[in-house]
């Protein structure tokens, strides 16, 4: 974490960072992190089909009266990301068929980690398809993973796949760009976190972006 680096190179985006990027485009009067991400790193980004499908599902989720505001923010973020990253999502990498043992092993590891965290959790590998496929392809293509989920990054490390949180991607933006201040980046990240979307790391001050 937090290596002094400006590079990202070839990477697979999980759903979390896409939600962050999507919501950043909805910033009111603030800095749009997605503009900087796109300029610096989008050319090296890829997504897997399961992530594209999860994003589409969240974007089309029907909100009911009484649903949490956070759910509304997620839907908004997913919709914005779906629109902004249309071509990236359309060229999503398909799930290999039949699923190789390696992929199933990753899915199993993610499911077990989730159960460890909340013992009552009965969700199966379906819930972790996006992360699992991203790690699988990243391992095969010597790419990295951008994910906000701790478990995904943990399994990625186990598979020797370098990973970064969304905050770490933004740190790289800060180091590469002279036209944006750390404070502005911090404000935009906090706007996303306040909306209930995981940015992958706890920040309390612009100083945490150093």
């Amino acid at each position: 974490m937090n290596q002094v680096t400006t590079e990202l190179a070839s990477h697979f985006l999980d759903t979390g960072p896409l939600l962050c990027l999507g919501l950043s485009t909805k910033a009111t009067g603030g800095l749009v992190i997605a503009d900087y991400y796109d300029a610096e790193f989008l050319c090296d980004a890829r997504v897997v089909e399961a992530v594209a499908a999860e994003l589409a599902r969240q974007a089309s989720e029907q909100l009911r009266p009484g649903d949490s505001k956070m759910k509304g923010h997620r839907k908004k973020a997913a919709g914005a990301a779906k629109y902004r990253y249309k071509s990236l999502l359309e060229s999503a990498v398909a799930r290999p068929s039949p699923a190789p043992a390696d992929l199933e092993q990753i899915e199993k590891a993610l499911t077990e980690l989730a159960k460890l965290k909340s013992p009552g959790n009965t969700s199966g590998p379906e819930k972790h398809k996006g992360e699992a496929e991203s790690i699988h392809w990243a391992a095969g293509e010597k790419a990295s993973l951008v994910a906000c989920d701790n478990d995904a990054r943990r399994v990625a490390k186990y598979k020797n796949v370098p990973s970064a949180t969304f905050v770490e991607v933004v740190r790289r933006v800060g180091r590469r760009r002279k036209d944006v201040t750390t404070s502005a980046l911090y404000d935009s990240l906090q706007a996303i976190a306040v909306a209930g979307i995981d940015i992958g790391e706890r920040l309390t001050s612009p100083l945490d972006l150093t």
Partner: protein, 383 residues
């Protein structure tokens, strides 16, 4: 090596301040109490810290000029301005070339609430000091003598040279050791915009001291208090203390993050943010990533006994109507960001719990625009 004891000049119309001077004398500084009429240029010139009382009612010589507003020094703040000119050797004409003095002037008053009426309690010393070109404003009754001794020592120890490209003396003043996280700490200091070039040089470092007292120590900046340091590690303050009191290797690593530079006890214990963040990072790396709860569990294991865990996954600390930090953490998505006057942009964001928006109408006015819109708007997607 300079063995001269820092000198404190106390200007107060209360004869009882002799005892205060004596108590300072027992804390490693030299102190002299004087009545306003008796201030001597030689004492002023050698002062490292000048403590000025605000309401000076017993001042006979002043009464003789009470019909001459240009001569009538109304209060301690006005006297501070006069003394500052004296310290710097300004005036009476341009023929006298002023020279900056690093002596700090601190208003010592029992009436801060009166002086800063309408200002939230937490911000009062910084607000009054900033407004009147004072290094600090201290409450007479509640500020321990040791704090004044520390101030005098800090002022006396200000570096002589001010070059941001070679801030060796400044980093010595802060006692920033040669640790693995030193560069990160240095970068964080820089982000806090220290006046360490022209402003510091032309004020003999006085601006640096004012910045440190008014913008750094009171707020979570490159130095953080126990509450924030503990939260970085997923612990409560009690948990942090227990970890600190232990004899594990992690306790030693933690001790290395303690701020021991000038004024280290002035506002309570402080930690290097970069040090604590690096410690957190190391623990995370050892356990192959995780969240605050995982870090706390890991620290508990390393400590060898239970530690009080914060149990808030993304903790932020709200402030109350007086801008004082509420020590109970809330989840970030249950809070909104505030933008109070005078709060440094580089400091930790102050927060208000969403549940308090209606109970704290004055704070609710300070919610940043983005968060206000988030919580006011219809949440349905517009895509």
């Amino acid at each position: 090596m300079n063995t001269k004891r820092p000198f404190v000049l106390i200007i107060d119309d209360d004869a009882g301040q002799e005892a205060f001077a004596l108590s300072l004398g027992q804390l490693g500084v030299e102190a002299l109490h004087t009545l306003p009429d008796d201030i001597k240029a030689v004492d002023l010139a050698r002062a490292d810290l000048v403590l000025v009382d605000e309401f000076i009612t017993d001042w006979n010589a002043r009464e003789t000029v009470k019909d001459q507003p240009g001569l009538f020094v109304r209060d301690g703040i006005a006297l501070s301005g006069v003394l500052r000119a004296g310290l710097e050797g300004r005036g009476p004409s341009m023929e006298v070339r002023p020279s900056p003095s690093k002596a700090a002037i601190v208003l010592r008053t029992g009436h801060l609430d009166f002086l800063a009426a309408g200002t939230p309690t937490f911000m009062r010393p910084m607000a009054v000091a900033g407004r009147h070109d004072l290094e600090w404003v201290a409450e007479k009754q509640s500020t321990p003598a040791a704090s004044f001794a520390a101030l005098a020592t800090a002022a006396a120890s200000l570096p002589e040279t001010w070059d941001p490209s070679a801030p060796t003396a400044q980093l010595q003043w802060l006692q920033l050791a040669d640790t693995a996280w030193r560069d990160r700490a240095l970068s964080q200091i820089e982000q806090c915009r220290p006046p360490w070039s022209a402003l510091a040089a032309t004020s003999a470092g006085r601006q640096w001291l004012a910045w440190f007292l008014q913008k750094i120590l009171p707020f979570p900046t490159f130095l953080i208090d126990d509450l924030r340091a503990a939260a970085f590690l997923g612990l409560t303050q009690e948990g942090l203390q227990a970890l600190m009191d232990g004899s594990s290797g992690i306790a030693q690593d933690l001790a290395a993050c303690l701020y021991i530079g000038q004024l280290s006890e002035f506002a309570g214990r402080r930690w290097w943010r970069a040090g604590i963040a690096s410690l957190r990072q190391e623990v995370l790396a050892e356990m192959n990533d995780g969240d605050s709860v995982d870090i706390a569990s890991r620290l508990t294991k390393l400590h060898g006994a239970d530690l009080a865990i914060l149990a808030v996954s993304n903790p932020v600390f709200p402030i109350d109507g007086d801008y004082r930090t509420i020590t109970e953490a809330v989840e970030i998505e249950d809070a909104v960001r505030l933008q109070p006057d005078g709060w440094p942009i580089f400091a930790d964001t102050p927060w208000l719990a969403v549940s308090e928006l209606k109970n704290e109408p004055e704070l609710a006015k300070l919610v940043v625009l983005q968060d206000r819109l988030n919580f006011d708007s219809d949440e349905s997607s517009d895509d």
